[in-house]
Amino acid sequence: MDGLRRHKSMFLLPGLLTLFLIIIFPLLFTIRVSLSGWNVSNPRMDFIGGANYAAMLHDSRFWASITRLILLAGGTVLIQYVIGFGMALLVWREARGRRFWRVLFLVPMMTTPVVMAAIWQTIFHESLGPANDLLGMLGLTKIPWLTESGPALVALMTVEVWQWTPFMFLLLLAGLLSLPKEPFMAAAIDGASTWRTFWKVTFPLMAPVSVAAIIIRLIEASKLSDSVYVLTSGGPGSSTETPGYYLYIQGLRDQQTGYGGAMSLTYLVLMIVTLTVVAALLTRAFKLKGDS
């Protein structure tokens, strides 16, 4: 298609260049600033080599936040996947009022995470919130949700699960609804039980969607910081800090710009590497090789 060579760039370039320009400056800036000693008392783009990186290697708070993030993201996404898939299956076909349930189950992902985190903060309030009230009704002791590290993590995960399970639910339900019906008829004809039909038909057919949904959620979860800021402010101590939040404290609140830049890049690279590996592993685990 001879006349088309000029046109194809006309279609692609506006979007590509826009994104490129928006992204490239911050990236170059961050690389440069990470090699400088820029901080609140010395806001200059000098050159100090890899000193920031060297400091970072000994910053256990940073590494702890990375580990925490990986566990948090992995754990919540797994829970989201299981619950989301389960709920999608329940309201997939014959269910009374399924359209009502579908709407309801979608709502949380539509709402602003930081705003809802503020509401959750009131829910987890030790004396005035309903979380402990509910425990009390069940005859359990009150829990200092946001002031002790264990419960604070549980609270954070609860909020994440509440907020983002609907996203899994949405993708998985859309996937289920797009499945052809013949494989299920074939399974019925072959005499497969409900359980066997799920494992041998539904699950394999849903594998591509599952992988996509999990990866998308992992990408989004790797950026976790807003809800932390509102819900626990990383506390108590630094026990619920994620890299995103720690970077905020270092780079923005305390204006350790150079150091923050070094951590930013490290964080970014680590996340890209981890997610690429996870994506490859998931793809293999779901035997997607050779599938379209």
């Binding site: 279609f11 992204i23 579908r102 009131t122 710009t257 830049g261 930013s264 964080y267």
Partner: protein
């Protein structure tokens, strides 16, 4: 064989999850009608029975004494969301169309790599971008302004638009493009007259995702706009940081998420019509 207990189990599970999902909204709703006394008295849920409902919280968010005005932030949020979504959809669908229809080759870079470049931008943590953005906008005089916020929001939304639209365009037979060209349309007309009108489902899905992520963005607004421009999430979170007037916070939160709850109704319709299946493939 399915036991007769299965339906009981099924609806119990659905009901439990529904309670968990709806709980925070119920709590916010009930709290928004309380006053200081009702809140200090410990968790109560049923108005008139357990506490006397007042409209204090709701009055506060519309400029009442000791409260805030949510109208301006609401308008700001709406403008930023709509403008950024529109730009992202326009640039995104053009790029997606090119990536779906034409073959690009630049050294080792192929179409799939370009798609990956777009989509991979979602991995950028806002905190990495925000400092450079700050200086960039400051240099351009766009700090604390709506255009500035729109530009950075486009960076958030463009990958989403490209991701949804590439898949969607791939599902439209190429023969439609070919036919339009044979019928006398140069490429751009082909796109506008033959492909876009058939892409409404894809565009709505993309618009929905853009709207959600655009509306819900907090971090950029938080660090890049201050006094002149405040978005709704910013306004609500600002309430949270002071001594919590829970009633006002709850009312503001509900007000802030209400448009998106309406969006859920619409998403469900897309879902039931099967329009979303393209997006997950």
């Amino acid at each position: 064989m399915r036991s007769r207990l299965y339906p009981v189990f099924k609806y119990t599970v659905i009901a439990l999850w529904a309670c968990f999902v709806a709980g925070p909204f119920f709590w916010a709703m009930t709290t928004s009608f309380k006053n200081a006394n009702a809140v200090q008295g410990g968790p109560t849920y049923i108005p008139w029975v357990q506490y006397k409902p007042t409209l204090t919280g709701w009055r506060n968010i519309f400029g009442g004494a000791g409260g805030i005005d949510v109208i301006d932030p609401f308008i700001n949020s709406a403008i930023v969301t709509i403008a950024a979504s529109a730009i992202s959809l326009a640039l995104g669908s053009l790029a997606a169309y090119a990536l779906s229809r034409y073959r690009f080759k630049l050294g080792f870079i192929k179409n799939s790599d370009i798609v990956f470049f777009f989509v991979s931008q979602r991995i950028m943590p806002p905190v990495v971008l925000v400092i450079p953005f700050f200086y960039l906008l400051q240099w351009g005089g766009l700090l604390d302004s709506i255009p500035g916020l729109v530009i950075v929001t486009v960076a958030l939304l463009l990958p989403i638009a490209v991701w949804v639209m590439v898949d969607f365009f791939n599902g439209i037979p190429r023969e439609i493009d070919e036919m339009a060209m044979l019928d006398g349309c140069p490429p751009f007309q082909t796109f506008v007259r033959a492909i876009l009108p058939n892409s409404l489902p894809g565009l709505t899905v993309a618009a929905m995702f853009c709207a959600v992520f655009g509306w819900n963005d907090f971090f950029f607004a938080f660090r890049l706009t201050f006094t002149e421009v405040q978005t709704l999430p910013q306004a609500v979170v600002a309430l949270n940081s002071s001594i919590p007037p829970w009633w006002t916070l709850s009312a503001a939160a509900l007000f802030g998420v209400a448009p998106l709850i309406l969006l859920a109704l619409w998403v469900e319709r897309l879902l039931s019509k099967g329009n979303l299946s393209g997006a997950v493939r």
